[in-house]
Amino acid sequence: MSFTLTRDDDRLVVDVDGQLIVSNRQEFKQLVLDEVEHGARLVVIDFAKSAYIDSSGLGALVSLGKRIRDAGGALRLAALNDDLRTLFELTRLDALFPLYATRDDALAAR
């Protein structure tokens, strides 16, 4: 399980390698919030290497999204497999986050 952060100006991409769940939600939130404190405004979470997420992971995304929007930024999710998409649909949280096919789509979108 690891998070890889790639920062480019005010853009941050976080690769989630493994599952974003209760045991790492705090670390994940803290890593992203630190970057937001230091100027990141477009945050893309890349789930290409992630199988699923639990309610804690979803909750972390909800609260991060709010914090980032409050800072004038945006949180975008990319490369979700079908199972991950299902979780966002079941919880209707897909209404809250734009879901992109790839990180590049997410970064390129207006």
Binding site: M1, Q19, I21, V22, S23, A51, Y52, I53, D54, S55, S56, L58, G59, A60, V62, S63, K66, D83, T86, L87, L90, T91, R92, L93, A95, L96
Partner: protein, 141 residues
């Protein structure tokens, strides 16, 4: 040849969750449950139940343990997660996307997800048994 393990006792530490979830998903795969169920429904629902047992039932108290039991037969999967807490009234947990703050609150989606991913979720403090048990049931599709 010995049968694969079907029950575990773990400390109240969320880092214990992932290995158990993986082992249970393997049991389900071996029993012929669909790969979707083994990849999504079982891991997520079990993670929720374990997280609640550790954090809510046992209040993260490291001296308290959580017991997990898996039953699989030709028709049904049952997962039992037992903590040392007082239990709670599952019927009163009704938080859903229809609630005003659903799109803002960080917590509170665990039971909702378990219900969506399993056929049946129940909670009980059994007379004649130790602790409080959440029982998840899923019929083979």
């Amino acid at each position: 040849m010995s049968a694969p393990r079907h029950d575990w006792t773990i400390a109240s530490d969320v880092n214990e969750i992932a290995p158990i979830v993986e082992a249970v998903a393997e049991l389900c795969a071996a029993a012929g449950f669909s790969s979707r169920v083994c990849r999504l429904n079982v891991p997520v629902a079990l993670t929720e139940a374990l997280a609640n047992a550790i954090m809510r039932g046992n209040s993260n108290d490291p001296r308290r343990t959580v017991h997990v039991r898996v039953m699989i037969d030709t028709e049904t999967l049952v997962l039992e997660v037992t903590d040392e807490g007082e239990g709670f009234d599952l019927e009163r947990v009704r938080y859903s996307p229809d609630d005003a703050d659903w799109f803002e609150r960080e917590d509170g989606r665990g039971v909702f997800l378990m219900r969506k991913l399993m056929d049946h979720v129940e909670s009980c403090r059994a007379s004649g048994a130790y602790g409080h048990t959440v029982r998840l049931r899923l019929r083979r599709a």
